[in-house]
Structure formats: C-alpha cells, structure tokens
Symmetry: D3
Subunit: 136 residues, 6 copies
C-alpha cells in the first residue's frame, strides 16, 4: 500500500457540553495541526498517489471553512461537541466530497482510504480513517 501525507493547520474557538470535559466546557480554542494521508494500492503512470499540489490546495480550502471561527456558532455543528475526533471526521467527509467533485484530480478515484489526524498539542491528537468506496 502506498500513501501520501500532507500537513496544514487551523485555529478555532469552541466550547463543549458535558461534565466529562471539565474546564473545557468554557469557551476556549485550539490550533489543530492537520495531517491527511491518502492511501492507494498502486501508483499511477506518473509515479504518484495523488497530485500533491491539488491535495494541499483542497486541504487548505476545507480548513478555510473552519479557520478563525467560533465553532459554537456554525449552524452545521449545532447540538454537537466539536471535539478533535469529531472534527477529524468532518474534514474526512469534506475531503471525500472534494475528491468526488474532481477537485483532487483523477488520481483521487483510486484512493481507497483517507486518514485525517488532528494534533491539538504536543501531547494529544485524534484521528479518523475511513474508506472512500473506491474499488480495490
């Protein structure tokens, strides 16, 4: 299995509901350093998993929708805790949609799994990995 990973980051505010979160129930924020790994079984005729330039651009665009925002005010997330785990899945879903729209180029059709990891500090991270539905 081949993979390519690209990194970017996003800075957001939010608060959590639930006693398990302790002081994180207060409005606070985070920098998430985001790694996205695209996996496929073979490389294409150019020798690549995916057009890395497009991957970087699409990741930046997906993060721009969240960047410098208070996630408590984003209608789509109403009633949900925007935990690191949850946001990893949100980014996965939006990357998947971007790939299906063709934004990641033709190579994206052969990508079988995508893994999204959000580093919230030097000691904690969360990730979501899912299948793309590409025939393998």
């Amino acid at each position: 299995m081949f993979s390519v990973t690209v990194r970017d980051h996003v800075m957001i505010a939010h608060s959590f509901k639930g006693e398990v979160f302790g002081p994180a129930q207060r409005l606070h924020g985070a920098t998430y350093v985001v790694d996205v790994e695209f996996k496929r079984r073979t490389i294409d005729a150019d020798g690549i998993v995916i057009d890395i330039g497009r991957a970087i651009d699409v990741l930046r665009a997906v993060l721009a929708e969240l960047n410098y925002r208070n996630l408590d005010e984003v209608p789509e997330f109403a009633g949900r805790n925007t935990t690191t785990e949850f946001l990893a899945q949100v980014i996965f879903t939006r990357l998947l949609a971007a790939g299906r729209r063709g934004d990641l180029g033709p190579g994206a059709n052969a990508v079988e799994q995508i893994r999204v990891t959000l580093h919230e500090s030097h000691v904690a991270s969360a990730s979501y990995e899912g299948n793309t539905g590409a025939a393998s």
Copy 2:
C-alpha cells in the same frame, strides 16, 4: 475508525543479556517518550473516543510504576530483557487492565485496539498493538 493518542515519558535504567545487544549489555538507561493510541469504531454521545483526562492520568500512573527505576531489579521482569518492544507490551497490558478496572471510564469498553509506541531516541522507536477484546 476513530482514535485518540496521548503522550508522556518515563526514564529508566536497565541492561540486556545476549550478544546481539553489544555495548547495551552494560547497565545503561533510556528516556522513553510514550504514545498511546486508543482506537474505536464510533465516538460516544459526547463526541469522544475516551475521556482524555482519564487516559492521561492512567498513562501517568502506569508509567510511574516504572519511572526512575533500575528495571534489572524489578522482580516481575526477572529473566527477561526489558527491551523497548517488551516494555511497549508491558504498558499495553497494564493499560488494558486499568481499562477493565474502570479507570479509563465507560468509553474504554468500546476501545477495540490500543497501540503503544516508545520513542527511545530521535532515530529509533518500538511499538506494540493489540486487541482489547471489545466486541466490534
């Protein structure tokens, strides 16, 4: 698959038996920077894989049993080389036991795999990953 990873460290002394270890047969030591990744298929109603505060506390407690010790004098390890690989499994086993005692909170019941990675320097690490036995 979702995952959450937390990091801590431990500083120990030990020696190894066996020619394969060369100068590491002498009494020496190591700092292990320890990453523990908890994996489960879904997140809970709070939006989390596991209570990260508990995960950090349990990891600290597991490492405290080893920290600032000469592992050559720990009865439980008698006759074993306390290699990085071996210690990764020891920590896995102790985290699993802590989870079963409830120390990791109810979310731990849904954790399907745990991966423990010990970084022994900037150029070497070892890991152990195992199933928890949680129904998947």
Copy 3:
C-alpha cells in the same frame, strides 16, 4: 551560560482588533505549546540551574490562569490584543513574580534571563526574553 528548558501547553480563545489581523479579528483560538528557558552563569552545588520539578509546577500554575479561557473576557487584558508576542511577555512577567515569591526555589535567584516561546502552530511561534534583575 547554562540553561534549562521546560515545556507545557495552554488552549485559549480570543479575537484581535486591527485590520492587520485580517480574519483573526473574528473570535477564534489557539493551542500554545510553551517553552520556558531559565539561564544562569553557573550551576549550584547540586549541579542544576533550577529545581525542574518546581519549574514545571510553576509553569503549569501560570498557564492554568489562562487555560480554557476566552481572553477577550479577562479584565487584565482589556484594550489589548492578546497576541502570541504579548502572551509570551505576560507569561514571562508571571514567572518572574513567582520566582520572586520563592515558588521556583532558591536557585531562581541566580537565574539571569528567562526566555518564553509560544509555538502557535507547526509554522509559527513568538517569544519574549528578558532579564530577571539577578546580579550577574
């Protein structure tokens, strides 16, 4: 010159006033990974710059005052942009006060400079370094 550096982190929300900040004028947030370096000319009779256990505890206490907060609502910061640079100096000032209260132990009296660095992402950081006023 000797130095000892310890690391911790803090997660906050805030917004900035001023066109130079662009989208960061909106309420957002950050994780700051904080490095504090204590510098002195000699080590003491124990062979140390400072009691590292106390240094870690004091840094945690200083960061706890900021952690999981919306800095826009902290009266002390009213009318100021809580930029990374500004916060580095705030943390410096509070560490200096803690040292003068004796919280860092006797070794702190010999510390001549303190440098505080806040990493706000994998590509940006800011720092403040100042003299403590210790005779050199």
Copy 4:
C-alpha cells in the same frame, strides 16, 4: 503486533516528467528523512523484533546507493519518475532483498510487513508498506 522503527536520511537530485509536477519538472532535489518500520507478531527469545544495529547498518547501506546522486542518471530508474512514493517502494524492495540475504540477521525471517516512509519536508511525506512473504 510488534514493530521497531529506525530513521536515517538521504540527499538526492532529480527532475520529473509530466505536467502534473509543475515547477518540479526542473532539476531540483530533496532531503528524505526515512523511517523504516519492521513488523512481526512476536518478539524473539532476546525480546526483540530485529537486531536494531543491523537494521540501522542495512538502511544506511541501502540509502548510500542513492545518497548524493542525481537520480536522473541512475540507469535502473530510466523512464521512471523517482517520486517520493516510488522511492519508498525502491527502498522497501532493497531492504527485503537485504533481509533475504541474511544482512538483517535471523530475526528478519519473522518480519511480516515493512513500512518505509520518506519525509520530504515538514509538511509532506509518502510511504510504501508491503508484506515480506514470511509465514504468519
């Protein structure tokens, strides 16, 4: 599953053919920081996955064949783009061959997968993971 990972690096020049590469069609170069992870189900009687000293030596030897070279002039790569993905597989294949020659010691026979990751910058990496053919 146990694993051991070792790190080294290599510095090369090359160019790519294909519009997808944009300015990287020009002759340029890269430092690849290379992580190799050896995975096996059990550790041996010494408590190890593999002789880490041999692993480091073999990795250095494999990278030495590429180091300080213009890959455009390496006959074996003629007609191929020596992308990060492609080079990860090349290194995998050469490590596999070294293991079969016995250069990695007897433990290598039990290694079931090898994962090779090349970090080309602080924001991009590629990897290849494959089975060794060891009975599992």
Copy 5:
C-alpha cells in the same frame, strides 16, 4: 527582546567544489526547512513584532526564487559553494532588502535582528543571524 518566527521550505539541487565535501561534490539536492526569526525590542500598538501574514508571503517569495532549481546554474552564485550556511545568509540578505522595500510592512523598520535557520535533515542545520541596521 520579542521575536516572531515563521517556517517554510525549499527544494533545490546543487554540487560543491572542494575535497572537504567528499561525496557531496557530486550533483545532489536538499530540502531546506527554513525558520526566520524577526527580533525587536518592543511590540507595536497592535501588539505585534511584524505582520505575520506579510512575513509568510515575503519568505515564500524569497524562497520561490530558489525553489525547484539547480543552484549550480544560477549566475549570481557562480564560483560559490551554495552551502547551507551560505544560503542562510542569502535568504537573510533578500529578506532585509524586502523589508527595506516595505514588503514586510511598517513594523519591519523596528526589527533589529533577523535569524535565518535552514534545517537540511533531522540531524543537521545551519543559520545566519545579522543586524538590520534599525536604530535600537
């Protein structure tokens, strides 16, 4: 003293002349991960050392002049070894010129020192630090 540091990278090919370089006399290449630290004594009325958005853009522009190039063919570098140390100074000089042209905004006038560090691998880096000539 306050400082702000931003990071970017550049990928180049080159060769060196001189026996001291050993195999690096051959055409090879490098990824340089570049950190630029801007230092000044005070922060401005906005609370910043420099407009970080402009700093990132200017650094990208300076690196773009070198990126994806064979430095052996750059007329300006004829007869010089484009070592990591040398390139750190080249980037310093170009950032200084950009600041004087106003590309870094008005805050750049108060920057007293700039430090440029090029990481060429996980085990080696070089830097150049110089005064800007700003009144202090």
Copy 6:
C-alpha cells in the same frame, strides 16, 4: 553570526544525590538527544563554518565515551551529580579539547562559541554555551 548544528544521542544510567531530585535519587537512566551548535563570524573559502563530517564524527566519539554506561561508576564524575546541565558542560569541554587537537579540522580555530543542548524528553532540555577563546 553563522552557525552549524549537528545532532546525535547517548543512553546512560545514573542517580542523583540531594533531596531536590526526589525519585531521581534512585538509579535510573536517560536518552539525551544532543545538539551541538558551532558559531563563527564568517564562513571560510569553502563556504562553511566547520567540516560537518568531522563535527559528526567528533561528536559521536565524545558521546561514545559516555554511551551505555552507568555514570555513577565513572571515576571522573565521582562526587558530582551528572545532571543534564553538568553533562552539557562536560560535552562542551571535550569538544573544545577535540577542536584544539585538530580533530575538527582547521575551521574549528575560527569557531567562537559552542552551544551544547541535551534533550532529555519531549518536555525538558538543558544546555551549556561557552566561548572557545578564538580571537573574534
């Protein structure tokens, strides 16, 4: 000012005397990831601060004297706590001596300062920086 930094590591056992050390009074150990920075005002005719190959070899030789040892049994350190700060100075002194013996090549004569940093974990480090006595 120019500088070049190289990295290596060393694994040792030791114990400390003094209540300030708490549990670190017990025999334990550490991995020190060691960064050595050589600083000089100008680069030589080859474009370098120092022969980096020699710097790496000399650092490895200096660390080899300590590596895989119980520092409590090293006669030279009798009666001293081999703290991270102390060891940074020991390594500085030995590098200085190596430079004076010519082991670092002729460029070492122009090196004005050497800074040695020992990272003992992902959250703590210590350093020693001193002048070499080179005319500046």
